[in-house]
């Protein structure tokens, strides 16, 4: 897994609460293999019109935000379906971090699994950053995982919350399967005990 340490990049504000994963990538694209052109599926139906032309009012279609690597969202980002493709399209477009007041649980886990940082910052601060990013299109945000701080366009610093275990895995780029297999003897001992106690499951 790609580690995440520190990132200074253009940030894109998304003025929508409860952005669901169907919005991030519509279901009809889920059968597609990840490959060249996959990034075009990101926010597809709100980003393109019926003829496939860009909707100029959508923030990602506005020049200063096109190279954004950080997304500043509203509450409950990534709610709904468990599709990890929602993370794949965000990453294939170039996003490495999402700052939001809260996340859908499954999507939050999916971001962490792919080396993407979901940073939880209170809505008041998110709203302030989104306003600044709208006022100054192309402005940058810095995210430092070690110190758990996000620095807004105006230099204001916000602390974000992240579980210590998730932080360590992101900083080192650790793979969860590897971390499980380190415990193989404990797992095997557990299984013996477990199935002896619950023979109907053996």
């Amino acid at each position: 897994m790609q580690p995440f340490t520190r990132l200074t990049a253009v940030a894109m504000p998304l003025e929508m609460a409860s952005v669901d994963t169907d919005k991030i990538i519509p279901a009809r694209f889920l059968r597609k293999a990840r490959g060249p052109g996959y990034e075009r599926l990101l926010f597809h139906d709100i980003r393109f019109d019926a003829d496939g032309n860009e909707r100029p009012e959508f923030v990602l279609n506005q020049t200063p935000y096109r190279k954004a690597q950080i997304l500043v969202a509203g509450p409950n980002f990534g709610c709904g379906s468990s599709r990890e493709a929602a993370v794949y399209v965000l990453m294939d477009y170039g996003f490495r971090a999402v700052i939001a007041p809260s996340f859908g649980d499954i999507h939050y886990g999916n971001e962490l699994q792919n080396g993407m940082l979901p940073a939880i910052v209170p809505e008041e601060a998110c709203a302030k950053m989104r306003a600044q990013l709208r006022e100054r299109p192309g402005a940058e945000i810095t995210i430092d995982l070690e110190t758990q701080t996000a620095t807004g366009p105006d230099g204001a610093q916000y602390r974000f919350e992240i579980d210590p275990g998730a932080k360590e895995r992101l900083l080192k780029g650790l793979d969860d399967v590897g971390l499980v297999l380190e415990n193989l003897p404990a797992i095997e001992a557990f299984e013996k005990r477990y199935f002896a106690a619950a023979p109907w499951l053996a």
């Binding site: 919005k23 139906d45 809505e123 557990f190």
Partner: protein, 466 residues
């Protein structure tokens, strides 16, 4: 000593090791479907095997056509390829697979309980958010993404942070025409789509005790729509009667041993929950969504709300965007909203009881808009046909189709057309969920048929008895 919650009684014995806040959790049952191809792709790329194939179960549902044709009916070769790839993975890794043509095929969250694979006290995962459905049997069941699915396939374990607990108590008898779907929509309207984030919900109270297992599945299914990690109902005699004799349920002395354990699972008196919410069953009416997420729901007797009256800025802005998409103006009576199409099915509402409720309304009436039923499994389809429900639907002009996820997410090509308004028994009214530009109104099966026979959202209680 304070009592323990059912969740604690399931979680604790499944923890293998603890690493900081993360527990390494043993997974009893892992379900895969044809949409799980990213996980199998990664597993193969890393040269790993399925560690415990006997605890792994596969079934195609998302891309399965409901109107098979000579050509197979798949939306394209890619979709068919995914169904074939699942079968190939089942053969290579040696897990049970209920494929196309197997009489046990159906929607993964319908067949898990139906075959007795899901049982009380188990940890259950699947690469699908509606895995919460299985909690209706007293299991801890939750959806995971492709990377975590690969982890479960490779190790039968999963790193998980212990969620908080939320008890939702509903007491009292439900009114005529009010169903499990209305209960869960009322709950989500109350607590919001993020109301359960980070929590496992236990549904408690006399309303759930009196509810069938099918109804409990409908409620647990939509726990994810409140943002919850999982939903569960304590197992009771109804649960045990439901499970007895099912193909994968324990038999003989093993059944007795399992039953003795299952009876210990319900939360103790005095168990402490991190949060509590209560609703009065008698106050719940048939519900319908008016917006683009499941909390944007109201009793059918109500009107489309005015976003300007909403105090929460995020909710107000979401409601404004929702009304623009859904094409409704504040103050409109919900019963004045015309519908163009009706869908009865999905892991939320496709079980036999749902089909009976739908058929009861359809009997002797005619649909005035296109409508179809997709039973949740082949077994349910056969049972419904044995009861003559298929004939009732056909006579009402409602199509009777094969079993799949179908128009809930439309991945098999069952979609509405842009601009159409659909009354749907599924779980998500998100923008574009049932097709680009399609507007979804979530309702119960009886309410869906009521909409089909009148051509508008209709209070099923106002249809005269036949």
């Amino acid at each position: 000593m304070t009592g323990r919650t059912m969740f604690e009684k399931i979680w604790d014995p499944h923890v293998i090791v603890q690493r900081g806040n993360d527990a390494l959790l043993f997974i009893d049952r892992n379900f895969v479907h044809e949409g799980s191809f990213h996980a199998f792709g990664a597993l193969r790329k890393e040269g790993r095997r399925v560690r415990r194939p006997r605890q792994t179960f596969g079934v195609p549902d998302h891309y399965v056509p409901t109107a098979p044709s000579a050509a197979g009916g798949y939306v394209d070769a890619e979709a068919q390829g995914l169904v074939e790839f699942l079968a190939e993975n089942a053969r290579e890794f040696g897990f049970d697979h209920f494929g196309i043509g197997d009489g046990r095929q159906g929607i993964v969250h319908v067949i898990g309980p139906e075959l007795g694979i899901t049982q009380p006290g188990l940890t259950v995962t699947c690469g699908d958010s509606h895995t919460s459905t299985h909690g209706a049997l007293g299991a801890f069941a939750f959806g995971i993404g492709a990377s975590q699915l690969k982890q479960v396939l490779a190790t039968q374990c999963l790193w998980q942070k212990r969620p908080k607990t939320l008890r939702i108590t509903v007491d009292g008898a439900l009114g005529a025409g009010v169903t499990a779907k209305d209960v869960v929509l009322a709950i989500i309207a109350k607590i919001g789509v993020a109301g359960g984030v980070g929590h496992v919900i236990e549904y408690a109270g006399s309303t759930f005790r009196a509810m069938s297992i099918e109804g409990r599945m409908t409620v647990c299914n939509m726990s994810i729509e409140a943002g919850a990690r999982a939903g569960m109902v304590a197992p009771d005699d109804a649960t045990f009667r439901y499970l007895a004799g099912r193909e994968y349920a324990p038999k003989g002395p093993l059944w007795d041993a399992a039953l003795a354990h299952w009876r210990t699972l319900p939360s103790d008196d005095g168990a402490r929950f991190d949060r509590e919410v209560a609703l009065d069953a008698a106050a719940i009416e048939p519900m319908v969504t008016w917006g683009t997420n499941p909390e944007e729901a109201a009793p059918i007797s109500g009107r489309v709300p005015d976003p300007a009256s909403m105090t929460d800025a995020a909710k107000r802005s979401h409601a404004e965007q929702a009304l623009a998409y859904i094409g409704l103006t504040p103050g409109t009576k919900l019963t004045d909203v015309k519908v163009d199409r009706v869908f009865i099915g999905s892991c939320t509402n496709s079980r036999i009881e749902d089909l009976r409720a739908a058929a009861q309304v359809a009997k002797g009436r005619k649909a005035v808009v296109p409508a179809f039923v997709s039973p949740g499994s082949q077994q349910i389809k056969r049972q419904a046909e044995a009861e003559g429900l298929d004939r009732v639907f056909r006579e009402a002009g409602i199509e009777w189709r094969a079993s799949a996820c179908s128009m809930c997410a439309g991945m098999n090509g069952d979609l509405g057309r842009a601009g159409e308004r659909v009354a749907s028994t599924s779980n998500r009214n998100f923008e574009g969920r049932q097709g680009k530009g399609v507007r979804t109104h979530l309702v119960s099966p009886a309410m869906a048929v009521a909409a089909a026979v009148t051509g508008r959202l209709t209070d099923v209680r106002t249809l005269t008895e036949r």
